[in-house]
């Protein structure tokens, strides 16, 4: 199942719509950089982090954990049968992380100083933010190196191919280490907030919970992508179905662990009552927990007949759960004092939508032109 470009036309209704969304985001983005936050966003002194951080960075890099999660499986657990899924997963990771990194700049008031955090003289090594920034930056570079064989195959760069062939093990090791560090630190960022995060979400176990859910998200996103690209590019899923099935199983057990730790922690911290008495927050908590529990039921219950649809829905539910978990922890569960309020403004949302659109468009362009998806079709014999 050697990877190959799937070819085909670039201009389609989908890519056109994506392009329009990207242009809209570019328009609002220009407004933001020229006239400041107030012109486009609702973030304020009480809520300095809005969806540009909660979605574009925290969720965006979480959704981009496919490469990380698969690398754990393929290279660490040595389960080589998953290798065909590696390239599409890596592609999504490359885009997710690169755009996540870039979108931080939208959220920086004095964005022209963004390079300060990468410069040793400006760094403060007690800061979680520095750790996240350096780690994410390093990982973006590592991801591009990990992905470079795809480009080398397409453009025929023998030097790159030789270098990566020889040293790839090193970058793969880094590619497993770095996300472990910063995905957990995305949780540590909230620990620093202390009392300002509602007890349903504030815990010293935040790093573990964020890491667990990031890995689970990684598997879910691989399943999700496999299904969507199968449906979208009109390919058959038969070859990937066994892989999807076993990945889903791993994900389900990770979720079991997550749910046990999450609930156990809440009870142990004495926040049990908060699950029922916190109004909207309790409601959001239960929606989140339901979305976490659903895939477990779908994937582990003996009475469910599992097919591609079930795997897809389970992955969707898992992704929604993790997305909601992050939004809840960063925005819903964040209480900075009476009177403060935040809901993203329309232009603010449009920028985020544009970034997502850019990711999807990039994915489409890449799989059409580069050897990313595992090749299969009537003309190939396996």
């Amino acid at each position: 199942m050697k990877a190959q470009p799937i070819g085909g036309r670039l201009v389609s209704p989908v890519t056109l719509v994506l392009t329009v969304l990207i242009l809209l985001a570019a328009f609002f983005g220009a407004q933001r950089f020229l006239f400041g936050f107030n012109s486009v966003a609702n973030i304020n002194d009480g809520f300095p982090w809005g969806i540009w951080i909660a979605w574009d960075v925290v969720i965006g890099t979480g959704l981009a954990c496919g490469g990380f999660a698969l690398a754990l499986l393929v290279y660490i657990a040595n389960q080589n049968q998953y290798h065909p899924l590696m390239r599409p997963a890596l592609l999504a990771s490359v885009f997710g992380y690169t755009l996540g990194g870039i979108s931080v700049i939208f959220d920086l008031g004095r964005y022209w100083n963004f390079w300060h955090i990468l410069f040793p003289t400006y760094q403060q090594y007690g800061s979680v933010m520095v750790e996240v920034a350096l780690c994410v930056t390093a990982y973006i570079i590592v991801l591009w190196i990990e992905f470079s064989p795809v480009l080398a195959e397409k453009f025929g760069w023998p030097g790159v191919k030789k270098f990566t062939g020889k040293w790839m093990f090193l970058f793969i090791a880094l590619g497993v280490l770095l996300p472990t560090m910063h995905q957990s630190s995305l949780g540590s960022l909230l620990i620093v907030y202390g009392q300002q995060i509602h007890p349903l979400w504030q815990t010293m176990l935040l790093p573990l919970l964020f890491l667990l859910s990031a890995v689970a998200m990684g598997y879910a996103v691989v399943v999700f992508e496999a299904c969507v690209s199968t449906a979208g590019f009109k390919r058959k899923i038969d070859h990937e179905l066994p892989l999807i099935a076993s990945l889903s199983k791993i994900m389900a057990w990770l979720l079991v662990a997550f749910i046990v730790i999450r609930l156990g922690d809440i009870v142990a911290r004495g926040a049990f009552a908060a699950m029922f008495t916190s109004g909207v927050k309790s409601f959001m908590f239960w929606v989140e927990m339901t979305l976490y529990a659903l895939p477990v039921a779908m994937l582990l219950s003996p009475s469910v007949k599992r097919d591609a649809k079930i795997y897809f829905l389970a992955a969707c539910s898992m992704l929604l759960a993790a997305v909601l978990y992050r939004i809840d922890a960063y925005l819903v569960g964040y209480e900075t004092g009476p009177g403060w309020n935040y809901f993203p403004a329309v232009p603010e949302i449009m920028i985020t939508i544009g970034i997502v659109a850019f990711e999807i468009l990039g994915y489409i362009v890449f799989v059409r032109f580069f050897p990313v998806l595992p090749g299969h079709g009537p003309d190939k014999a396996h």
Binding site: D45, I237, D307, K309, W340, N341, P344, M350
Partner: protein, 375 residues
């Protein structure tokens, strides 16, 4: 022996020992000298090896510097000055006049060659060969050069000698120039001010007397102990500036309440001097221009005093006021609006729809192995 010499001083000046030691401590504190320096100062004054000879020149000036020195309220200040130095030439204080006075200057210069302290009061006209100020048939320019040649130290007292002062106000018809524009081969300590605070001058002299060297100076030649801080920094009205409370015109409510004079043109924010710290005339708090309700006009600062109109706003040098003050009621963010909620709902709906469609197609696909899945 030290005690004896102080007792002798007490008898000679009619000055109590305690008062004298307090004065020495005040001098040391004014200059920011370390502990123990007051004893060194007391020792240097009470037991002078030889009182340093001082030649005091007057050029284009009003004698205000001398006046402020002599009329200091502190009863013994002028006595002390006259005791610790040997004032060998000073036109305002001389009993002698004419050629007799000039002869005294030459005698002092000759006797203390290379050791005397030269104090210059007033600017020096340099236009047309310096003909606009002459003493005994000699131009100020020549007299200055003559006296500076063998001086051990040169002190320019007052704004005129320090940077040109009032006589140099544009169009400066006489080409009035400061001492350090003419004497380039020797360091010139400047004590600007109109008039300068007598303590700043006295401290400089005492420093020279005690340690044999002049105090540290800034780029303009001003002793750092007196001129390293903006008036604005130590001003008693500073809190009003920071809070945005200003007198808007003389005699208005803000002025009567002692608000900040910045908007009346106070040059405190761009003028370096220690006026608010050491005040004038030894009569206690408030005894300095801003304290009495008049804006500082920047007399110690070249390009400010006698140059900028009194009512012109100062350039705030080191503490720029904030562009805006915090609002009383800070905006606390906007909740969901119809548009944003609708957009989020639309995205969620679209995602759900797309998911449903993909799921449907997948179902079809896995049942029919070779059929294309999506429409």
């Amino acid at each position: 022996m030290f005690r004896d010499s102080i007792d002798a001083l007490e008898a000679k000046l009619g000055l109590e020992r305690r008062t004298f030691l307090k004065f020495c401590a005040a001098m040391a504190a004014t200059m920011g000298l370390p502990k123990g320096a007051e004893a060194q100062i007391a020792n240097a004054i009470a037991t002078p090896a030889k009182r340093p000879s001082v030649i005091w020149l007057h050029f284009q000036e009003c004698t205000g510097c001398t006046e402020s020195l002599l009329r200091a309220e502190h009863p013994t200040l002028e006595k002390l000055i006259l005791e610790i130095i040997s004032l060998d030439y000073h036109e305002s204080l001389f009993a002698a006049a004419g050629h007799q006075a000039e002869a005294a200057r030459y005698a002092a210069m000759e006797a203390n060659k290379g050791k005397y302290v030269l104090v210059v009061e007033g600017a020096i006209p340099v236009k047309d060969g310096g003909i606009y100020c002459k003493i005994g048939g000699k131009t100020a320019l020549d007299i200055l050069k003559e006296c500076a040649a063998d001086a051990a130290a040169i002190i320019a007292i007052g704004s005129c000698a320090s940077w040109g002062g009032m006589p140099s106000t544009p169009p400066n018809p006489t080409g009035a120039s400061p001492v350090n524009a003419i004497i380039k081969d020797k360091p010139v300590v400047t004590i600007p001010g109109c008039p300068p605070n007598p303590y700043n001058f006295l401290s400089t002299v005492v420093h020279y007397l005690t340690f044999g060297s002049l105090p540290k100076i800034d780029a303009e030649g001003r002793p750092l102990f007196a001129y390293s801080r903006l008036i604005h920094e130590n001003c008693e009205r500073r809190a009003h500036f920071d809070a945005g409370r200003f007198a808007m015109e003389f005699g208005d409510e803000g002025h009567r309440k002692g608000f900040c004079l910045y908007k009346l043109g106070c040059k405190g924010p761009e003028t370096y001097a220690n006026c608010p710290s050491i005040l004038f005339g030894d009569v206690g708090s408030g005894s300095w221009p801003v304290g009495t309700g008049h804006p500082c006009f920047g007399c110690t600062e070249k390009g400010v005093g006698f140059y900028k109109p009194i009512h012109q706003l100062a350039d705030v040098k080191n503490v720029v006021p904030p562009a805006s003050y915090p609002r009383v009621v800070e905006e606390q963010g906007v909740g969901a609006t119809l548009g944003s909620a609708a957009l989020v709902a639309a995205v969620a709906g679209l995602a759900a729809g797309a998911g449903y469609k993909v799921a449907g197609n997948l179902g079809k696909d896995s049942s029919g192995p070779d059929k294309d899945s999506a429409e």
